[in-house]
């Protein structure tokens, strides 16, 4: 075989496979044929449809999908805050009240009313800080009493 023959064999095979790929990938089959072709190639067509919807919803959401997603996110954030924050705050408030009572029992004059006023205005961090201060004062008071 001379080099030119070899070259022509190469290009014939390559062109044949190119044409075969293109011919098989032509778009003429009906929708029914398309479904059965996909199934024959091992695809689950319902799964493909679902994947496609998921892909669109994630990367090209409609304004309704965007609005729904934002609404859900807002609701989730709200739910988290409602569950976590009030319980933590009420626990801290309860601890402060217990500490005030315990200090009063040890004879300390604690301006409970003033503290109570602050509860309403204080942030969660302020309340926790107040609880820690009172706990420290209570420990010091207790030590003095036992000496």
């Amino acid at each position: 075989m001379n080099p030119n023959d070899k070259k022509s064999v190469q290009s014939v095979a390559a062109k044949f496979l190119d044409n075969l790929a293109s011919f098989l990938g032509d778009d003429s089959p009906s929708r029914e044929d398309l479904t059965s072709d996909l199934e024959n190639n091992g695809f689950d067509v319902n799964q493909l449809r679902s994947d496609f919807r998921g892909l669109l919803s994630e990367h090209a959401p409609t304004w309704q999908q965007k609005a729904e997603r934002e609404r859900k996110a807002a609701l989730e954030t709200l739910a988290r805050q409602e569950v976590a924050a009030p319980r933590a705050r009420s626990v801290v408030e309860n601890e402060i009240n217990n500490l005030i009572q315990a200090m009063q029992q040890l004879g300390a004059t604690v301006p409970a009313g003033a503290y109570h006023q602050k509860f309403r205005e204080a942030t969660d961090a302020d309340l926790e800080s107040l609880r820690d201060d009172l706990a420290l004062q209570y420990q010091i008071l207790k030590k003095k009493q036992t000496k």
Binding site: F23, P29, F43, L56, A60
Partner: protein, 215 residues
Amino acid sequence: MSNGKERAAIVLRGPEGEEIYLRLVLYAERLARMHGWRVGADLPGASSPKSIVNDVVIKVLEGVRIWDESREPSLLNALKGMVRSEIGHLYEKIEETLVEPADAVLPNGKERTSDSFPSTRLHPGELNPEQHLLRTERTKQELAAMTLVLKETEGKPDAESVLLALYETDSSAEIAQMTGLSIERVYSARRELDRIVRKITLARVIRAAREENRP
């Protein structure tokens, strides 16, 4: 006026969207099979025809790849071109790693990609010995694949006629004209060929190519 990304989203969300996606998956599956035969390898890494289609669709929806409707009015055709390019690049990368270290960096400091190693596009005279060997191997694979398809089609007259026409054209209408078959029979032969092609595994092509090599 909406841009390519918005237009693609509108078309894909429309009544034809799902069909475009399904056709694209089937196209990628067939194309990957042919490329696999020619290179003698499966798609690399975790890539699959479906994952390639998904990547391409996401890139178009996010504007990373642009659908220029004025140049290609059919979104399906535009997406097919992108899928073809992605699959081609992946297989070129396989060939590249066969003759070059995978982590090579170009003199300008950039990482080498398949674009910087266009061995399949070079004239034979420009190939180095490894690239030349690679191209020869590829041709053997192509010949083996072609021979297997022809062999498997023996005794199926319509499919055989269509195969002969495929040496000249890939158009169903032209094949019908050349062979004298009705377009319905050409479509029917295509389904037959699709079944035949699915039966020809990559392992068979590699084996056939090796057998051709034996003295």
